[in-house]
Point group: C2
Chain length 302, copies 2
């Protein structure tokens, strides 16, 4: 069977995750496919002189959604991310007025753009060579109730801007709607944890994934969880970093309790010893944090 | 010359960092010494039945202070941390009422204690073996103006609870007072980034350091900076995580600008591509965050 390619142009893309979404393709449980994505700014920034005066209404196009056969509310959608390949000759790092961690700093230009040309396995930032280490910025599923812009992360995933969303990681999402409705885009050729200026090196990518359904899981997930091979990490979004790390910690306690014969108190104390809290991004409408536990201490129940 | 040992008992310790501090020892510029520390809870927790009903008034004893000859306000104090060795047979992970990230969770016991016995290079948490990976929880210098409990981190260092404060790291502190007045304690045998329950595995340690003074530095530091060999990281404390990561990002921009021919705007965009924001702790009176830049992109000017 040839591998299905789901493309931004020919198949379709969304700017919102919603309860009701029309699939552009329906994948079999366990099917491998390739998802082509466009950069988050729809190819509008091509030189350093292309400035972003404001965040566009339509940003972070997410290719899809892809329905997965058999996925029902309460299930867990498993997305094995096999490879993320940059599919254009440049990325772009951008900041814009009213956007980014240091948006009130008068000594920093808002807007500002630096195009990062691709040179083999690296991108060039003003003469500094940075290895390409791709990240899928926006990845998620149909929501339970609300309609959410692809600029916003939440329990359905969305704009998580999480550096672990890359080749080699298996991501798990709660299924809120029949078919799950997976969509992704907003990739970066490289990104710092935090995404301080509001972007990484935004770039189009081809993403190889295998999707499958965990039916009636012993332990469900309320929010995304990733398994990088080296660590299991809960991924939580909220209004403040304090609220996000609290959710991420709670989610990890539930997984530790399911995996070990630990009380909640023991899981809490243990979580304070290994791995720990990480920052995904601090610049989107909700911020995103992780709680990591090294693989030797935590196996997922699915 | 035999190596000076500065001990908790015989020499002395403090529970506050202040503008005026009396040194228990004066080290030469460039001198190597060993600092002995006691666990943060003054040996009062020895079994799982020893519970912490409230945070004691005197907590996080910091051995010292050690004056360093020639250190003047405006200088930078360089502390090469060569080794941190656990010096007792157990650590203890503790939570207490009104303390810790999930202090309002009724399903978690507050207080709770788990003693972690040392077994060679590991500690035991309820049958789970965790490698010893020591952290100096509290390390800092005399403050500019305020008197600050050793429970609180700030620009002088203090209760930074930063996992990078370990053997192999060089830490830099602003010098606010003559002699700098370095003190440290509150070590952990292991700790997660975040220190969610309020402690790691609190333990006494022997710490080998070499102290030296960077006089009239080309670029000063307003807050602690660490160089782990793999990355340079700013370390900033504030009321909220949002404020702490903003300070940490600003400090890294200043260092990137000093090291590269970059404008502040370029440093900001570049900081959004590599390394990134990290969580030190979210449980102390001020919270602490870091901004890391891999060593290949940032060398300190001292």
């Amino acid at each position: 069977m040839s591998r299905q390619v789901v493309s931004y142009d020919d198949d379709g893309h969304v700017y919102e995750f919603a309860p009701e979404m029309e699939p552009v393709y329906t994948a079999a449980d366990g099917e491998s496919l390739t998802v082509e994505t466009i950069d988050s700014l729809n190819k509008e920034i091509q030189t350093d002189d292309d400035l972003l005066e404001a965040i566009p209404e339509e940003v972070n196009a997410a290719t899809g959604p892809v329905a997965v056969e058999g996925a029902e509310p309460g299930d867990v959608l498993k997305v094995e991310i096999e490879d993320v390949r940059v599919n254009e000759d440049r990325g772009r790092v951008v900041t814009a007025p009213g956007f980014g961690l240091l948006q009130d700093d008068d000594e920093i230009e808002h807007p500002a753009t630096r195009v990062t040309e691709v040179d083999g396995d690296t991108i060039d930032f003003d003469g500094v060579s940075v290895p390409i280490d791709p990240v899928i910025g926006t990845i998620g599923v149909a929501t339970a109730e609300e309609t959410v812009s692809t600029l916003t992360p939440n329990d359905h995933g969305g704009n998580l801007d999480t550096t672990d969303m890359t080749g080699g990681t298996t991501a798990y999402f709660p299924v809120f709607q029949e078919g799950a409705m997976l969509a992704m885009g907003d990739s970066k050729a490289a990104m710092a944890d935090g995404e301080m200026c509001g972007t990484g090196a935004e770039v189009g990518t081809d993403i190889d994934i295998t999707v499958s359904v965990v039916s009636d899981p012993e332990v469900g997930v309320d929010r995304p969880v990733v398994d990088t091979g080296e660590a299991v990490k809960s991924v939580a979004s909220a209004e403040t970093m304090e609220a996000a790390v609290e959710l991420a910690n709670r989610d990890i306690l539930a997984l530790l309790q399911a995996d070990h014969d630990m009380s909640k108190t023991e899981a809490y104390l243990f979580s304070s010893l290994v791995g720990g809290l990480e920052v995904s991004q601090v610049v989107d409408p909700l911020v995103t944090a992780r709680n990591a536990v090294p693989a030797e201490y935590l196996s997922l129940p699915f």
